[in-house]
């Protein structure tokens, strides 16, 4: 663990990224305390520019506090990002692991199934899913997970294909361990490095997707999100630039920070693979 941190620390960008991510997480956790009122509440006069008294980042066209919106939006972004990354990683590990371990026909079938998802324009599929299921935070998470697992499945399959030929896996077969045991206790821990890196990048991707969905009005209408803030103020950008700029910056900085963290994890977890996973 100490060694891991040593290698991570060597990547300066990744350390800065980690600070930013920790900051965003803190804001998300503390949002209800820092801004106890609902972010939807009409708190002041509309169209207040940034640096106005009481409203550091100004207000929007209905007089809602933009800073409060950002803080509460961080919650949605992180919940959606983490939950859908977890879900897609789980699906990816199951599909890729089984395909890679068993090979042959099972592999063929699962990979054709994966390709099916890769050939459908994924963002449109996400919109369709959210539209059919009614936009709630759950359906958004589900939609994002469903469109983003194929790359993980492919990665896991590749790792499994090479690991299952290793002698320690053969030894596990010979001593009579069951297939599931071998997959989860022998092979998976050895494949975890690249998977963790990929998952951390998935979080960033999911935040972007959630932003895009909310921008188009397919977000959870109950919850303030960054994408919604940009979407609702986009036609006022010439009159009131701050309304879309700050949530845009929030998305940009968070996603960048997560990518930096992913890069640092790559360096720390797979010193040899470094810089391949990103592609």
């Amino acid at each position: 663990m100490k060694e891991f941190w040593e290698r991570y620390k060597r990547n300066k960008g990744a350390v800065i990224g980690l600070y930013v991510v920790v900051f965003v997480v803190l804001v998300a956790i503390l949002a209800p305390i820092l801004f106890s009122a609902s972010p939807w509440e009409l708190a002041g006069r509309p169209f207040l520019p940034p640096m106005s008294p009481k409203f550091l980042l100004g207000t929007d066209m209905l007089g809602r506090d933009i800073l409060a919106g950002l803080a509460h939006g961080a919650r949605v972004s992180l919940i959606v990002g983490i939950a859908s990354a977890l879900a897609s990683t789980t699906i990816g590990i199951l599909v890729g692991g089984i395909a890679g371990y068993y090979g042959g026909r099972i592999d063929d079938a699962l990979m054709r199934f994966t390709e099916l998802f890769q050939t459908i324009p994924s963002f449109i599929l996400a919109i369709v899913l959210v539209a059919i299921l009614n936009p709630t935070i759950y359906s958004v998470v589900l939609a994002i997970a469903i469109i983003s697992w194929p790359p993980i499945a492919r990665l896991v399959r590749g790792e499994f294909l090479s690991l299952r030929e290793r002698e320690f896996v053969m030894a596990s077969i010979v001593i009579g361990q069951s297939d599931m045991r071998i997959i989860f206790t022998q092979i998976l821990p050895n494949a975890m490095g690249p998977i963790i890196v990929m998952a951390s990048l998935m979080v960033a991707g999911a935040i972007l997707l959630e932003g895009s969905l909310s921008f188009l009005g397919f977000g959870d209408p109950e919850m303030m999100s960054w994408g919604f803030m940009i979407g609702s103020s986009r036609n006022l950008i010439r009159v009131a630039w701050w309304m879309s700029l700050f949530p845009g910056l929030a998305i940009f900085v968070t996603v960048l920070a997560l990518n930096l963290v992913g890069e640092g994890l790559t360096d720390a977890l797979n010193p040899r693979l470094a810089r391949e996973v990103k592609a």
């Binding site: 002698e167 001593i175 009579g176 361990q177 045991r181």
Partner: protein, 544 residues
């Protein structure tokens, strides 16, 4: 080079004096080689023998100016070559010397050639870099060179790519390239280690012939005392960066002075005649007509390729017997072993064990039977899960068979003791152990299930000779105590000669000869067996 002749002592080609090479600070010892002094005369073969980590390769690289500086660098002493001190040469002067006056061949012929460059151009490069002759003359010279290293049809070969050549042929190409400019010194770093025995012998003969013809000095690095007896005029023995003994082949072999040399020579496997007959024991495992073919599906351009890995193998082994399955790479011996434990499903044939045909067992009944046939693997670095503690690795088998975790872990500690390790190491991870220790752990894992048949797939081929001897002793001892039937798969006839009771020789998927060890070694019937026996390096050592 004429001007140098006067300065040099006439015969002394290479003169290493008090050479010390430093390792980077985080290495396990300060110096890779320490204070070594040796000379090599023209027309002489000097073998440097040592186990891995002894510094023998570093010595060779220092002479070639190929040390990975600045991490590993010369800190003391000097190297004289043809009367000239070469340690202080500028890079350009080094380049001129390398290739023209010194040639080098490496261990791994598969990676030493550029895969996307024609054979001819790779040798031509050496010529064009050093001498100015017309390209047509160079081409003629390349063909001559390929001819001189005994490659068939050299005129055609010039235009082919390395992937069409076998390992032995590639090594011949490497030799041709190294000798292109008739260097005075050839450095050979384990040039035959990656080759099959019969090919190894051919390459050794080739090097010896060319060395005589060209009156070269050869610095030959090897870990194998058998190889030494085939080629050396003089021998230097290295241990942990120092030369512990140097002398003529006869001196070192017949009258070794240093303890380490004695140990190394003693560790060379010897034919043990006292093979026990097991005819009265019951047959525990037998196979009938086992076949396995691998096929590569053909594409639009490529043809469908079928490889008969195992063809109609009939075999039986009795309790307490050690059966050696011997063959060169590609003979199908490993595939056959994997069929026996159903890591590979045979296409046809029967494998009988405990009155059941294993080939037809369902996955579930197979799993119940698995503990009784266990396997030891070749690569001690790949055969243990790097993320599991040793105690757990050993206990996993019994746990999978339903033993409680606690009992399994406790038995695991006893097993560690049985294979000669401290039970306290159960809490460590595999990377903390040496190759030999890991192989012991692998053996403990197999024994944890109390098997009746143990299949050892090249269990010592990745180990140094002295460690190899210890592991072989351990296996023999355990086998005796537990009355195991042991199927010992190896490419090394010397090892088989030492540990086995009977021997089966495989070639291209078939067993060509099978019999008691003494018969096979003293009175081989099949010509392939004879060829294999003739190719054993240091045969004298083995049969004495």
């Amino acid at each position: 080079m004429v001007q140098d002749e006067g300065l040099a002592e006439p015969d002394k080609l290479l003169d290493i004096r008090a050479l010390t090479v430093a390792l980077p600070p985080e290495a396990d010892r300060p110096h890779a080689v320490e204070d070594i002094t040796l000379t090599l005369n023209r027309g002489e073969v000097l073998c440097i023998v040592g186990e891995s980590g002894s510094g023998k390769s570093i010595t060779a690289h220092a002479v070639m100016g190929l040390l990975p500086e600045p991490h590993v660098r010369i800190v003391g002493g000097e190297i004289g070559f043809e009367g000239q001190a070469i340690t202080t040469l500028k890079p350009a002067a080094w380049r001129d010397l390398r290739g023209r006056r010194m040639g080098m061949i490496f261990q791994e012929p598969m990676t030493a050639l550029n895969p996307v460059m024609r054979i001819g151009s790779q040798i031509d490069e050496v010529l064009s870099a050093h001498i100015k002759i017309s390209s047509s003359e160079r081409q003629k010279r390349v063909v001559e060179l390929l001819d001189s290293v005994g490659l068939p049809d050299p005129a055609q070969l010039v235009d082919t790519y390395p992937f069409r050549l076998s390992g032995g042929q590639r090594q011949r190409v490497m030799i041709a390239a190294a000798l292109a400019l008739e260097p005075a010194l050839l450095i050979a770093d384990e040039p035959t280690t990656a080759l099959d025995v019969t090919t190894q012998m051919q390459i050794l003969h080739l090097i010896k012939d060319l060395q005589k013809k060209m009156d070269m000095g050869v610095l030959f690095i090897t870990h194998d005392f058998g190889v030494v007896t085939e080629i050396a005029d003089r021998v230097a023995v290295m241990q942990e960066g120092r030369i512990v003994e140097i002398g003529t082949l006869q001196q070192v072999l017949n009258d070794p002075q240093h303890d380490y040399t004695k140990r190394l020579i003693a560790a060379v496997p010897k034919l043990r005649e006292e093979a026990r007959s097991h005819e009265n024991e019951k047959v525990v495992l037998s196979t009938r007509g086992v076949c396995k073919t691998f096929s590569q599906a053909g594409g639009i351009i490529t043809q469908r390729r079928v490889v008969n890995a195992v063809k109609n193998v009939d075999l039986s082994i009795r309790a307490g017997e050690t059966l050696g399955l011997v063959g060169e790479s590609g003979s199908g011996k490993s595939t056959f072993a994997r069929c026996l434990v159903r890591l590979v499903d045979p296409d046809s044939g029967e494998i009988w064990f405990a009155n059941q045909n294993i080939v037809q067992l369902s996955a579930r009944s197979l799993r119940r039977l698995r503990p009784r046939i266990q396997m030891i693997f070749q690569d001690p670095y790949a055969s243990l899960n790097p993320r599991r503690k040793v105690g757990r690795i050993i206990a996993e088998g019994p746990i999978a068979q339903g033993t409680s975790r606690r009992t399994a872990m406790e038995n695991g500690r006893e097993l560690l003791l049985l294979v000669g390790l401290d039970p306290a190491v159960a809490d460590r991870y595999p990377h903390e152990f040496s190759g030999g220790q890991r192989q012991r752990i692998g053996i403990a894992r197999a024994l944890a299930l109390k098997p009746e048949v143990l299949i050892a797939d090249e269990p010592v081929s990745a180990l140094d000779v002295s460690v190899q001897a210890q592991i072989l002793e351990l296996l023999a001892d355990l086998k005796e105590r537990l009355n195991l039937a042991l199927i010992f798969i190896t490419h090394d006839l010397r090892v088989a000669a030492q540990v086995c009771d009977s021997i089966a020789v495989m070639r291209l998927g078939e067993i060509v000869e099978m019999g008691l060890k003494a018969d096979v070694f003293r009175r081989p019937k099949h010509e392939y067996t004879r060829a294999l026996l003739d190719a054993i390096p240091g045969k004298k050592l083995l049969l004495e």
